[in-house]
Symmetry: C2
Subunit: 374 residues, 2 copies
Amino acid sequence: MQQSTGAIMLAGSAGDCPDIEYATGFRAMDPVLYLRRRRRAVLVVPEMEAGRAERTARGVSVATPRGLGLVGTTRRGLAEWAVALARRERVRAIRVPDSFPHGVARRLQRAGVRVHLLRGAAFPERAVKTPEELRRMAETQQAAVIAMRAAIALIEAASVDADGFLRCRGRRLTSEDVRRAIAKVLFDHTCLCREVIVAGGRQAADPHERGHGPLREREAIVIDIFPQHEGHGYWGDLTRTVVKGAASRALRAMYDAVRSAQSAALAQVRGGVQCRTVHLSAAREFERRGLRTTRRPGGGMGFIHGTGHGVGLAVHEAPSLGLNRQRLRRGNVVTVEPGLYYPDVGGVRIEDTVVVTRGGWRYLAPCEQRFELA
Amino acid sequence: MQQSTGAIMLAGSAGDCPDIEYATGFRAMDPVLYLRRRRRAVLVVPEMEAGRAERTARGVSVATPRGLGLVGTTRRGLAEWAVALARRERVRAIRVPDSFPHGVARRLQRAGVRVHLLRGAAFPERAVKTPEELRRMAETQQAAVIAMRAAIALIEAASVDADGFLRCRGRRLTSEDVRRAIAKVLFDHTCLCREVIVAGGRQAADPHERGHGPLREREAIVIDIFPQHEGHGYWGDLTRTVVKGAASRALRAMYDAVRSAQSAALAQVRGGVQCRTVHLSAAREFERRGLRTTRRPGGGMGFIHGTGHGVGLAVHEAPSLGLNRQRLRRGNVVTVEPGLYYPDVGGVRIEDTVVVTRGGWRYLAPCEQRFELA
């Protein structure tokens, strides 16, 4: 990487700049600043965080605003920290990611520092997981698998009332109930999940609808679980679609197509393959079955998203399994999650997260595929 | 506000740019773009999100990359969206917050759009809560109160073994156990909490240490709960410090001082008062009692943080109860949370979240203050 020769500056907290945690092992609750220049790396943290940073950050020297000579109200902002750090380290030019705060960049420029945008990722190697990272991710994914089983068991155990609503313990079973059951399992595995999706019927036709209200028989219920481990911060991602009772012919055709599309996509996954090859093999499987995709401003239907995305310290990271020509590398961790969305029938998505190997792939943690529940 | 006359552009997801949710009511899971020009506002969302945005966003017209005329791989990034939107809306100059992505700003500049930094907040009125916002925040804070009671009840019910460790159900009670009990209560109230702090002994002397391992009698245990409601997104914030058994004389002196400092700070809170007045009244209470604060690079001890911060759609937002001269306004919601940290004794922090009124303040949701637990 020619980029690794210049100074790189990153700014943010763990949530919005996972590269800092990747580079240092330090999980920042409040915004911090990171500078790497040749072999030297510095992490600037609020005074309050200095002790924790000294104990947990690796391969960096920890600095604080006070240590940089900032006092009183001039200590307050990342921009001041950045200028003081650039002066102390005698850095005249830096590279920053696209997401770098514009306010900090402008202040650096006014102080005479040239600010260039990185071409590509600050740490491209972040997309290639080490064995230790894979172990952590498998731990998170396993929690998702156990939570998925609990969710499906709840739907399977439900009865159906005369109006077609699922019932459990004397009342209607809702998306919220299933989400709560999932969340409790995740907690017991030291994982959190901000936005579990449990969406039935028409709701499931919108891939980002979280789902709410009573669930019904014979409708597709999309369950998408993407937990983050509270301890080490790595994410997992898993989706299943189930139906209580028998699916309609249209719904079953959608399910079969999605399962075939996932198999077709997985059959292409291995080190060296272009991302578009994987995505197009899923898309072609839908075309072959006459399941059309229509895109239009304000929505669309059919296969309206990419086939998958990288997972790691962020739930969405490189590589992206879309139309790009980037090549998969051994050690990438990607979701493979084709889906179909037709408002008049519902939505179906099946997602597994896999590790790319030289000759193919393996599951991060396997999970059985179930559809119609008795 | 003279700023409200120019075009304002915001970019980000709900987690890193709460202003977009504030302005539109739309919770963005992936990054979106917002532009306001005079009375017209536009929200650009991924195609997949268009349906949900149409249903939930208020006071904006929803656009998608496709609707802006972007096709194929040019649809991918926020920067392309921003340039296309600026062209369509014939915007030649925008104001952006400090946190706006530098990569997007640079692309706009190359396309001939002048990019200025906002002085202050994009929506200063966000710091003044409406009755509906206060109702939502009280709901979240009430969940924190109930979770706090569950945590304290667990510690109170524990026995103490011969080595001074707390025991519960035949094994040592850990920070993790208490955190799990808190999390379960929060879940039952549709709230999530990423980083509950349950830190005992020396760990509690580091205000950002989350806490881990077995808890002991006679040591201060700091419990800091800051949940976010999953439905409406508003946060709460609550901290108590307890000790199982009798506190040492030094620890009790710290606790009494923190309680007095909180009372002194609260006594200053009302509309029109400068933030520094509130902060200094807490700091002076510590000084008066001879409890000194020493700050140094790499740490410090005593009262090493501000007295509080605003809460709303972000857990930390304006106003900040530090040394600034900003004036509190009726409808601000702020934490009041003085604390003392001495590594040889431990840490003590007491935090309540209050609504600023014309003549004073009221609790968002009251919670009893307990210290020594039998």
